[in-house]
């Protein structure tokens, strides 16, 4: 129970204190990973580029959440609500991708270009009929 729980905590110290040194280590790791991302992007690995980039980004993100944001020391409830948005993002993209790649008439991009062109009709070839 919220109230009973509350008393179990000591009153001097209500959160976990992380030493600056830990933060510094994390910062260095993040900077290194950033450099790696940039370099990785330089080599052409086809569709693996984006995969790699996202994996590295996710590692960085987890570092930030776990350490910078004290996620490591949070309770289950907070973790649930940390995860839900990411799960929903996955569901959203997954759901939408059950659609577009499986359409039998993909978007014709010729049409796009021609629709982009101003609607003004060319003077009728009439004149030279």
């Amino acid at each position: 129970m919220a109230h009973s729980q509350s008393h179990s905590h000591g009153h001097e110290e209500i959160g976990h204190v992380v030493p600056e040194s830990t933060f510094l280590k994390v910062l260095i790791a993040l900077l290194v990973l950033t450099v790696i991302t940039v370099l990785a992007a330089k080599v052409d690995m086809g569709k693996w580029n984006i995969v790699g980039a996202l994996v590295i980004a996710s590692i960085k993100a987890s570092l930030v959440i776990a350490i910078f944001m004290h996620g490591k020391y949070e309770n289950k409830i907070i973790w649930t609500y940390i995860l839900i948005p990411f799960i929903l993002l996955a569901i959203m993209i997954g759901g939408v991708f059950t659609d577009d790649p499986f359409r039998d008439h993909p978007q014709p991009f010729g049409a796009q270009a021609e629709q982009a062109a101003p609607a003004a009709p060319a003077a009728p070839a009439a004149a030279h009929h």
Partner: protein
């Protein structure tokens, strides 16, 4: 079974209806059962003379919970299968299906056949033959719905969607647009005409009109269209302005537009005026006077009309045969006189709506709203009451008694085109417009 969805026009309709009827029966049984039980409890366990009686503390019952978790699950699986099964048929056109291109636009349906034949608002197909509609839209989302065929698909700009059906009987069927697309959404209808095979072939092959036009030199083609497309109604060839400017010496003409800016009637201006009539209206003419011919005239047609205009330089007199009395398209059987009148009023052949509003706003001619029985001042100052006789006269001899403040714009084209019966019906319709 129950036939709740009415006539079955396509060969897979019965499958959809079967699924529909099964779920209907299940739903009715469940609803009746549950509501019945609830009412039964309500009656036998009601408080007698407003006093509580002792009740047992029943927290729940796991067996029951399991039963009514599993039972609906099974039913759902079955029903889901039925829907799935019928859907498969809807989505798998046979390889030999005849393809027709469908274009949705605000607010009409255009159909193009493989041999280049084009129709608007009427889809003609052969009976017992699979037809695949390959559809796209010009402007916004539309949706092509043929109730009797049990098929529907949204029509999307910049993409193609399809639907198919195999008609099992001949006849005329309703087509709706079911994706909201703006003001005339509810008017974006089409008719599906299912013909016997031979008749369809004849219809498809019959491009006589098209061929005749194609065979003509552009200026003559334009002349033909001038009559057949009813341009003659509003544009004279002898210089007298009607609803719209006369075409005499119109090509290359310069002048002022309604907004004060100037125009020069070159090819582009004329083309625009045909496709977007409201865009640049010449001063002194009604802004809403002309309907758009978007989709009704091909580029070659427009070219032809422009060429025809070029011949109207006044050097030689051009004669055209009067427009043939056009048969009203609306099937008017079983309508009340007023309804027939409305149909005639809206019929594109008669074009009343071009100049007469029904909402009180004055266009070229007086609005029909509250017209009947009103006293009107005539140009010569005398006063008339709008009664059957006056309306009839005004339709047959428009220029006889012009209401003050209106131009003698109405063409004398209705005598012989509209029967006395038609006129009477239109009068009835006007009476309803209070």
């Amino acid at each position: 079974m129950l036939g709740l969805l009415g006539q079955q026009g396509s060969d897979f309709a019965h499958k959809v209806d079967y699924a529909h009827d099964v779920v209907t029966i299940i739903s009715v049984i469940c609803t009746v059962a549950i509501v019945g039980v609830m009412l039964y409890f309500a009656v036998i366990y009601r408080q007698r003379d407003g006093k509580d009686h002792e009740t047992p503390r029943i927290e729940g019952n796991n067996t029951l919970e399991i039963i009514w978790t599993v039972f609906p699950t099974l039913v759902c699986i079955w029903v889901a299968w039925l829907g799935y099964d019928s859907f498969i048929d809807l989505r798998t056109p046979p390889a030999n299906a005849m393809e027709i291109n469908v274009t949705g636009r605000k607010w009409a349906w255009d159909f193009t056949y493989k041999n280049g034949k084009k129709t608007t608002g009427e889809l003609v197909v052969p009976v017992d033959e699979p037809v695949k509609l390959v559809m796209t839209a010009k402007d916004v989302l539309h949706s092509f719905f043929v109730p009797v065929m049990r098929t529907k698909a949204d029509v999307i700009p910049g993409r193609y969607t399809y639907e198919w059906f195999r008609p099992v009987q001949t006849g005329d069927f309703q087509v709706f647009c079911t994706e909201y697309c703006g003001n005339e959404h509810s008017k974006m209808l089409a008719r599906l005409k299912v013909l016997p095979k031979a008749e369809f072939e004849r219809w498809l092959a019959d491009d006589s009109e098209a061929r005749k036009l194609a065979s003509l030199k552009p200026s003559d083609r334009g002349k033909e269209l001038y009559v057949s497309k009813q341009c003659v109604t509003c544009h004279s060839l002898d210089g007298t302005p009607r609803v719209g400017p006369s075409w005499l010496k119109i090509f290359g003409k310069e002048g002022k537009l309604a907004d004060g800016s100037t125009y020069k009637a070159d090819e582009n201006y004329i083309r625009e005026s045909i496709l977007q009539p409201q865009a640049k209206v010449v001063q002194g003419f009604p802004a809403m006077g002309m309907p758009s011919y978007q989709g009704q005239l091909s580029d070659d047609d427009i070219t032809g009309i422009i060429e025809f205009m070029k011949t109207l330089d006044g050097t030689q007199k051009v004669e055209v045969a009067p427009a043939l009395p056009k048969k009203s398209a609306a099937s008017t059987v079983g309508m009340t006189p007023a309804e027939r009148g409305k149909a005639l009023f809206n019929d594109s052949g008669n074009m009343c709506a071009t100049c007469h509003s029904i909402d009180g706003s004055a266009l070229v001619g007086p609005s029909f709203k509250g017209l009947y029985g009103r006293k009107e001042k005539i140009a010569d100052g005398t006063e008339v009451t709008v009664d059957d006789a006056y309306i009839k006269e005004s339709i047959y001899k428009p220029t006889a008694k012009i209401v003050q403040g209106y131009a003698p714009a109405m063409p004398a084209m209705y005598e012989g085109k509209l029967s006395d019966q038609d006129v009477a019906d239109i009068t009835e319709y006007i009476k309803t417009l209070k």
